[in-house]
């Protein structure tokens, strides 16, 4: 881990000499966002602040996918009454653990004068320390005063300082300042009439983008010192975070969102048809792909496009059953390289992608083709018309149409369906050598499977050459740039950011499609922190929290 960290630091350090020069085009920025923390972010933040053994028990409200990402939907969702009921209960649960006898000594910055009575001074120290970490900025005087008073009253009522303090902490955990990530902004001193995020809001964006968690103490201190408002200070923090092993948490979170891996939580396969597929296999298939991704993009500092052609991956024993490969490692993963000529190469031929975009009991060239268009190439495939007769298409018992290709060809000749299916099915047919659980097969219903096809005029003959076609398609890295930016900013790029987006794409290409460098380019750019006023606001009216 450490070795990799140093290597990345060296690589991005070199880049620092050239990046972020005056060639960065002007950008309008976009409105600041107010995002509801995701479940993963909530859990990670709690673990970082209070310790990994503090349990978070409760149900999170489902996210909403907007512009293909939950990260964008997070800026649209709110908290329903039953959702708040859960936040309130989770907050109490966390506070009770943080202040129990096992944890309090480690977390308390002071000792109360008496364990059975209020001690406002000590309560203020504790709530001030954790309030800053939870709100991503120091608490304001009245915020701190109110929480101390809640804790004081509770300590009085219950005759217990720590039990009382729990209520103050629970209040911070249920507050909108914690549940939502609000981005504060201020006039940009360098550009009259323009606005930028405050230093604390910058810290927040950086930290959630790179580590998928709340800013740590060091980042908040850098914000307090004003470091994040200088190019040098910002680069120093970004480089620290990019060099940390925690970068993998951030990269995993991004790809989990981009590839829709949250769907693994309720992915079920029919146990009669696919007896080897289980919940454990599903989880390990997701882990396999995330390992493939972080290994290529971070550990080996590779080209993003190679994700679609790489033969290097990782296998566990339960996965070996489906890949029909021996795995020596008893528990956990070991590296594996598919042989030249193996039908598998690239992310699309991993079980995660294949099983996720299939029906519970059979494969689906349509779902897989649609996923490639939407997730990898950022295109939109319209929904099917309402009055469709699919019965000829998918009658697997019809002796005339043995393979999915036969059945879908019948489909594509129907003019109402042809428009869309022409652009999605041929992609999916390239992956038909893998069944609904992602297992290899040469035949379907006794007929050999033809995996040839074409994507936007480029012919391919199997999964490997489909991967090559995606590798060579300029839309593939362009889509990644757009998605990373959406993910980072929590919204679609605005028209005023067009030039900057083009610049990011061009720099990503010029640098050999290295993800850490793209992240750095965004993280240390002024454009990333530019803000346009939200609709209905002529100036920021809130006092800046600094």
């Amino acid at each position: 881990m450490i070795r990799h960290g140093i290597r990345i630091a060296a690589a991005v350090g070199l880049l620092a000499l050239t990046a972020c020069g005056p060639d960065e085009p002007a950008s309008s920025g976009g409105p600041p966002s107010v995002r509801r923390m995701t479940e993963a972010q909530y859990r990670q933040t709690v673990a970082d602040i209070f310790g990994p053994d503090v349990k978070v028990t409760g149900r999170f409200e489902p996210g909403m996918r907007t512009s293909g990402l939950l990260a964008v939907g997070a800026g649209r969702v709110t908290v329903t009454p039953s959702g708040f009921e859960q936040y309130e209960a989770m907050g109490r649960g966390i506070a009770a653990q943080a202040l129990d006898e096992k944890h309090r000594d480690r977390l308390m910055p002071c000792k109360p004068a008496s364990p059975t009575a209020p001690d406002d001074g000590c309560a203020a120290q504790f709530l001030g320390k954790f309030g800053r970490l939870l709100f991503h900025r120091p608490l304001l005087t009245d915020e701190l005063r109110d929480q101390v008073s809640v804790a004081s009253k509770a300590a009085q009522t219950l005759g217990d300082f720590y039990a009382g303090l729990q209520f103050g902490l629970a209040g911070l955990l249920a507050a909108p300042e914690f549940v939502f990530r609000e981005e504060d902004f201020e006039p940009d001193p360098a550009h009259a009439g323009q606005f930028r995020l405050t230093a604390y809001a910058k810290a927040q964006r950086l930290s959630f983008l790179l580590w998928n968690t709340s800013p740590d103490d060091e980042l908040l201190s850098a914000a307090a010192r004003g470091d994040l408002d200088t190019r040098k200070g910002l680069a120093m923090q970004a480089d620290r975070m990019l060099a940390s092993p925690r970068l993998k948490d951030g990269v995993r979170a991004f790809f989990t969102d981009m590839l829709g891996f949250d769907a693994f939580d309720d992915l079920a396969k029919d146990s009669v048809i696919y007896p080897k597929f289980s919940l454990k296999v599903a989880n390990e298939a997701r882990e396999q792909s995330l390992l493939t991704i972080t290994d290529l993009l971070i550990d080996r500092h590779g080209d993003y496009r190679d994700l679609f052609t790489t033969r290097k991956t990782f296998l566990s024993r339960p996965l070996g059953m489906l890949y029909r490969l021996p795995v020596a490692t008893r528990t956990g993963f070991e590296p594996h390289e598919f042989a030249e000529g193996d039908p598998r190469a690239g992310l699309l031929s991993e079980i995660s992608f294949l099983a996720l975009h299939s029906h519970p009991g059979r494969s689906s060239p349509t779902l897989r083709g649609k996923a490639v268009r939407e997730l990898i190439l950022c295109e939109t495939v319209p929904a099917p018309p309402a009055n469709v007769n699919f019965s000829i298409v998918q009658d697997t018992s019809n002796p005339q149409f043995k393979t999915a290709r036969d059945r879908l060809t019948a489909h594509r000749t129907n003019p109402t369906c042809a428009g869309c299916h022409k652009i999605i099915d041929p992609i999916g047919l390239g992956l038909e050598a893998f069944d609904g659980a992602g297992q290899y097969r040469a035949n379907e219903n006794g007929a050999p499977i033809d995996t040839s096809g074409e994507i936007d005029g480029i012919a391919f003959k199997n999964a490997a050459s489909l991967g090559k076609a995606l590798h060579d398609d300029p839309a593939t890295p362009a889509c990644l740039v757009t998605d990373i930016y959406r993910y980072a900013a929590g919204r679609d790029p605005t028209p005023g950011e067009k030039d900057w987006m083009a610049y990011l794409r061009q720099r990503f290409a010029a640098g050999g499609y290295r993800l850490p460098e793209l992240l750095r380019l965004i993280a240390i750019s002024d454009d990333f922190y530019k803000v346009s006023l939200p609709t209905g606001l002529s100036e920021p009216v809130k006092e800046a929290t600094r």
């Binding site: 600041p32 966002s33 107010v34 149900r59 409200e61 489902p62 909403m64 800026g75 649209r76 969702v77 709110t78 908290v79 329903t80 009454p81 039953s82 708040f84 009921e85 309130e88 304001l140 009245d142 109110d146 929480q147 009253k153 009522t157 219950l158 209520f167 103050g168 629970a170 209040g171 249920a174 507050a175 909108p176 549940v179 939502f180 504060d184 309720d266 079920a268 029919d270 009669v272 048809i273 029906h359 519970p360 009991g361 059979r362 929904a383 099917p384 309402a386 009055n387 007769n389 699919f390 019965s391 998918q394 697997t396 939200p534 609709t535 209905g536 606001l537 920021p540 009216v541 809130k542």
Partner: protein
């Protein structure tokens, strides 16, 4: 709150001419923000809920041939036969899209529940009826409403204040049990009652949160402000729940603390769904009997039903599109199998609701359950004649045991009538061609 029970409703009740005295069954409406007064008066609370199944039915096998009372029971309705006197069937009402696309499994469901057709898939332009009814009658119980689905996915909920405010469903019977009957449950029939000081402290926590609302919202644009307003409305509702827990709950004769259910696997396997649905129905019924909520939303299968049979390569939804119509039978046998199981689950739900005695009748007699699907015949995504059933008399306000044909009338007439019966003070509902002020008089007792 009296204003929510309008003169209009009262007059309509009179004009409806049914053989009930006006005062008695309507009284709860006047009192519905005051649970203790109700209990003191010995009247049973009235409840409202929805029960949803996906992928519709087969018109020839589901729609009764005869209208009015004593309607015949076609084969797909067989499971409700024992409860026929408690169920009114509504057929032939139409979702009118005014030239908009029929977004499969979305347009129909949203039209039924909101009276407004979506312009794009899953758009929700107005609150769903359970929200509108809940705003009027759900404010005096510990839970404003309870949502649950037998499919294992919390996103399967059609209780929506707007497209981005969906009340998520509970998916596990055990989690549902813990939420309702866990440590925070106060037995309404317990002899002694001592308000828990911790509840007051939790109130002070929430009050401190609300004190900083203005500052948090100051810099927000309109859309974000609306989202935060919803958050603070949610905080307010939990405050009200806590307030109720500081008062001695009114006794509830039918309330018995149920045993905790076992942890069960959840998912789209129909056997799992049937099992989990039954357990959740039993917990819900007891939650209603114990006055923990008055409003509920149950999903047996999601819209575009993903339920599947173990060992089969397809889901209910896929079957509706892919299975051949059996020329001898005249329908899709496998897809129809799922319809029949769905109606059996509905029968189970009714059985559970009638198994709890309350006063002279059953829990169902004091409830109105609005059951519906997302399509008529799912094969063609037909939204002409989406099946609806109304079960339970809501304390004497609903005429059950009849079959009403809509003859192509806007399906929003049903939603309008349901709201008026439940005490929502409105005289028109819906939008476009579904805007209607014509309620269905036959439905009111």
């Amino acid at each position: 709150m009296n204003r929510q029970f309008g003169r209009r409703t009262l007059l309509r009740g009179l004009a409806g001419g049914a053989a009930v005295t006006v005062g008695v069954p309507l009284l709860d409406c006047f009192l519905n923000t005051n649970g203790t007064a109700l209990a003191a008066g010995g009247r049973m609370p009235v409840r409202f809920g929805t029960w949803f199944w996906g992928c519709g039915m087969t018109p020839d096998r589901w729609v009764p041939k005869t209208l009015g009372a004593n309607y015949d029971i076609p084969v797909e309705l067989k499971p409700i036969e024992p409860f026929k006197q408690q169920v009114t069937v509504l057929s032939g009402f139409q979702a009118l899209l005014d030239g908009r696309s029929n977004f499969p499994h979305s347009s129909g469901n949203i039209s039924v529940r909101t009276g407004s057709a979506p312009d794009k898939a899953d758009e929700v332009k107005a609150p769903t009826i359970d929200i509108l009814v809940g705003d009027v009658m759900g404010t005096d119980t510990r839970f404003r409403s309870l949502e649950m689905t037998a499919t294992g996915d919390p996103k399967h909920s059609y209780s929506k204040r707007s497209a981005n405010v969906t009340n998520p469903s509970e998916v596990s019977p055990l989690a549902l049990y813990t939420r309702i009957f866990g440590p925070e449950f106060q037995d309404p029939n317990a002899a002694d009652f001592k308000p828990d000081p911790r509840i007051m402290l939790r109130q002070s926590v929430l009050s401190a949160i609300k004190d900083h609302r203005d500052r948090f919202e100051k810099n927000l644009g309109a859309a974000d402000r609306a989202r935060l307003d919803q958050y603070f409305t949610s905080v307010r509702q939990i405050e009200q729940q806590l307030q109720l827990q500081l008062q001695k709950p009114p006794p509830a004769e039918a309330c018995l603390l149920p045993k905790a259910p076992p942890e069960t696997p959840v998912g789209t396997d129909i056997e799992m769904a049937i099992r989990n649905h039954k357990m959740m129905a039993e917990l819900l019924a007891m939650a209603l009997a114990c006055n923990q909520t008055k409003v509920f939303n149950v999903v047996f299968s999601d819209s575009a039903s993903n339920l599947r049979r173990s060992g089969s390569s397809t889901t209910h939804h896929s079957l509706t599109h892919e299975e051949q119509i059996d020329p001898k039978l005249g329908y899709q046998p496998q897809a129809t199998w799922f319809v029949e199981r769905s109606m059996e689950a509905w029968g189970t739900f009714l059985e559970v609701m009638t198994s709890i005695r309350e006063g002279d009748g059953t829990l169902l007699d004091n409830t109105m359950v609005f059951a519906q699907s997302d399509t008529q015949l799912a094969k063609t995504h037909s939204i002409a004649g989406i099946p609806i059933m109304i079960a339970g008399k809501a304390g004497g306000k609903v005429k059950t045991g009849i079959h009403i044909a809509g003859n192509g009338d806007p399906i929003s007439r049903v939603g309008l009538t349901v709201q008026q019966i439940m005490g929502v003070s409105i005289d028109r509902w819906g939008s476009g061609s579904m805007l209607t002020s014509k309620s269905i008089p036959e439905l009111s007792a």
